[in-house]
Symmetry: C2
């Protein structure tokens, strides 16, 4: 399809598409003449992902470029490729290295991962932004007087393990490795508000069940 | 305890405590002389919550005041009191009323709530900020080409139902209604990054299990 059709089908203005092309967020189309290029379904899919990252996830252009480079790197194993794409997303706060609350929190996270038998997460440890964000969040909780230990976290981690299995089941529906990684990135950015609002709704429901209105 | 001890035990500078007192975020201490007031454990607890809201949750002062008014309103039933406190927290985006994607998304959410038998959430519906945030998030997903229907959401909602049961179990540990509501507000603000980073860790673990590293 030509640029105008790509714009029509995606709902993205041609000027924005040209900007994404210039910034290397969208691969160039196939040149068919000096002034025209041809785009395919992969461009349409990639355009959706770029919008999800930039418009909804508020991911800066440089970080989005890094995410997409990992999505496209088929020299990586699937877990590393998925990890590299997700790790390039902007992350929460990092723990301060000398903060005693962060040291204690890291100890609890390590105990949690050992108790759960999450051997990959233990092995990757501090390299994973999710690990660092968890440590920082627990350090903040402790500093504010709401300490939270491995025993307390374990049932939540088990629930999130089941949620992650649903996430990965959903990815299985996508036929190619690149589409799987694209869908995982979109899900990471777009599904967090869905999950958090489902949690609030569930809290209201459970509270009404226990205490009445 | 005097102001200096309240500051020492909470780690909050006295100038900040005075600011919270002036803004009505912390109830006044009991006057013991023209220049001194006495503070109790309830002040210490409230101070923790105010810091969680303002410093971590980035909740504006006016919204924090509204949250705390609901926390303190013992004329309300427990679910309504909890709801009022959580509803006063800043929320995600609201759906545009005339957006056809939002109308379709609201239909899917209503179907989901019916399928799950979440009768309170159905009854409250659009009044709940969590309902509106969910509708807006689903409308965004559809607009970006990642539609998501009730059947797809149901297993996630069931997981969040179990997570909400854990949340409410945790609240049971607090002895008084006001402490329960305080803990719920702190959890809403502080536990979201914990849950989201546990989800990412679980995804890494599950991916390594299925696809290797």
């Amino acid at each position: 399809m030509r640029l105008a059709e790509l714009s029509g089908r995606s709902g993205v203005p041609t000027a924005t598409i040209k900007y994404y092309l210039r910034e290397g967020l969208l691969p160039p189309g196939e040149r068919v003449s000096a002034t025209q290029a041809e785009y395919g379904e992969a461009h349409l899919r990639r355009l959706r992902l770029v919008r999800a990252l930039i418009q909804v996830g508020k991911v800066p252009v440089a970080a989005a470029r890094e995410v997409l480079a990992a999505v496209d790197d088929d020299s990586l194993g699937q877990t590393i490729r998925l990890g590299a794409a997700l790790w390039a997303l902007p992350q929460g706060v990092r723990p301060e290295p000398d903060d005693p609350d962060a040291v204690a929190a890291a100890r609890e996270v390590d105990r949690l991962l050992a108790d759960l038998g999450w051997s990959t997460s233990r092995e990757i440890g501090n390299l994973s932004p999710a690990y660092r964000t968890l440590v920082a969040a627990l350090a903040t909780l402790a500093r504010l007087g709401y300490p939270c230990d491995a025993a307390h976290l374990a049932p939540y981690a088990e629930q999130m393990g089941r949620t992650a299995a649903l996430d990965l089941d959903m990815l299985e529906e996508y036929p190619t490795p690149v589409e799987k990684v694209e869908a995982a990135v979109a899900a990471a950015v777009l599904y967090e508000p869905v999950l958090l609002s489902l949690r609030r709704l569930a809290q209201e429901e459970e509270s009404a069940r226990r205490y009445g209105l």
